[in-house]
Symmetry: C2
Amino acid sequence: MNTSTIPHHRLLARTATFSRLPAALCPHSSPFTVRMSLSETAPSLAVVGVTGAVGQEFLSVLSDRSFPYRSIKLLASKRSAGKRITFEDQSYGVEELTPESFRGVDIALFSAGGSISKEFGPVAVECGSVVVDNSSAFRMDENVPLVIPEVNPEAMAGVKLGKGGLIANPNCSTIICLMAATPLHRRAKVLRMVVSTYQAASGAGAAAMEELEQQTREVLEGKKPTCKIFSQQYAFNLFSHNAPVLSNGYNEEEMKLVKETRKIWNDMNVKVTATCIRVPVMRAHAESINLQFETPLDEDTARDILRSAPGVVVIDDRNANHFPTPLEVSNKDDVAVGRIRRDVSQDENYGLDIFVCGDQIRKGAALNAVQIAEMLL
Amino acid sequence: MNTSTIPHHRLLARTATFSRLPAALCPHSSPFTVRMSLSETAPSLAVVGVTGAVGQEFLSVLSDRSFPYRSIKLLASKRSAGKRITFEDQSYGVEELTPESFRGVDIALFSAGGSISKEFGPVAVECGSVVVDNSSAFRMDENVPLVIPEVNPEAMAGVKLGKGGLIANPNCSTIICLMAATPLHRRAKVLRMVVSTYQAASGAGAAAMEELEQQTREVLEGKKPTCKIFSQQYAFNLFSHNAPVLSNGYNEEEMKLVKETRKIWNDMNVKVTATCIRVPVMRAHAESINLQFETPLDEDTARDILRSAPGVVVIDDRNANHFPTPLEVSNKDDVAVGRIRRDVSQDENYGLDIFVCGDQIRKGAALNAVQIAEMLL
């Protein structure tokens, strides 16, 4: 892949337009495409938080993957109710989320924040819906599977369509990290991981992406940058992740990596530390990951393992200095891994350094949730 | 410090103007300031590479610190010869660098790239000059001290004014890392460090800063970004450091951290790994540093040690989510440290995570070199 051929305009075009022109997000929305996904025998869907960045991406991914559905309900807060959204050539009215919204819904994809999930998730389950929840509300609940389909599909074995149930989507940083680390973990068992993240604006929602764009324009014009979402200048700057800092000095984002990894790998002994940083990039996260193994794993074997891992692409061209970048993985499904090398600070082949990039909205959120939903079919 | 009070315009103002309006970089250039630094008994100076980003900052730092000098010679390539630069209210013509340039020069500050240092550094020494070299040319030469004045001033004990000699300025990432790590190392001995960097455009020179600004404007206007310095889009993106990748998979920037740390700490056993990433920030680097100690060091003690460390400022307000940022340290002398916390992935108090920011051009290059020169006085 040559980065110079990437349509760079998409970066900002998507940002500026995605709440106004959602149809533009759906590559399959041409009227000449035969729609196989709308089927009377398929499940009925609901998307909760449809006007948000991830909500919009749910629609895009459902369409891209021709997810079969009998009907789809687009749910959001009262403020957004009545808006029209075109999905697969059909115009839908956004409905206000209420406890009655889930009657007859088989699968509900939630991405409207933790408090909405806490309030309406159990209601949906009570109605017989299977909820795939993108918030952190239920992730650490021991009765709720926390699933990356390529990593631990077995965790959702007990959840069946029609019976109601909750499945949690891991945090974006965890998904992107474990997509790369898990294939290596399976071979050589990861004892410890040191993760430093380079996180995009999208993790804080569509408004944060717009704020980054607006601030950048302002700074270039010599104006004071407008700070609404974040408390400080984001353009041409970076800062410690804005999640609340806990009493142990880690912020919540970092502890998600620590705790979710243990749960997803079903390994309470794996040691993880993380430093999460927000960088002025639009929609894809990067992570520098240092791994320590129980058994030796040389870098060539690691590269081969990653090359054959589902959902992973290896970009690791040392001669061309071509490695994963956020821009290159934006709007892509696969997580890209590169800079795969023996860690010179550890005993030979007991450690590796890798660098990983993944689209935060897509595999980090919407795609992973839709993949979970696909496993219910 | 409240970031909202920082004059954010300086970020780009400095970028856009520094090669055209160097006098604007000198806070002491008011005609009403009494100049104490120009003195008949002081050393004669030469600045090699004066038109570059670091060369300009040499002048700024010399002036800020009222460095005493009898005369100053501004040297650059033939292309820049004849340009006029105002320094401390005096206009100087830029002279072409030749082997004759160093006659009568006591201290020569070099920042014109490794090949210029290799060619002209020994010539200057032969002329009796003490060379403080900002390039990587001599850093790993065992006869050349590699010095951070706050860290290992003893290394330059043998170098005296008038006798000729070479002192190497460490790489910017190493300086910023070790400014924070050394005070902790002195107390608890660092056994291993895992470093992930967030490096600014300035490390690749003034033209790279201009490219980042230009690309950002282009992307915001929906245009294809101009890639001259870097081979790929930098605006709203990040990428593995552009230094050549070595056969072990590390790039040269990363191996500088590994090797220079050993030399500066005079500890061939310290284990370091690094992943160096270029982020779209103008002039200050950030580093996420994971430390493993020989003896326990709790986070409160670490914070106290750092608070009293010279050249270090602690910004570590968990309640306000206020930690170091590149913007906040830009144009500042001190290296800022925050996110100081016990590493939950290591045995209690045997590990810490910290996050460090430092101005790449200032402490990462020009300031450190001028501090070295001050030790010769």
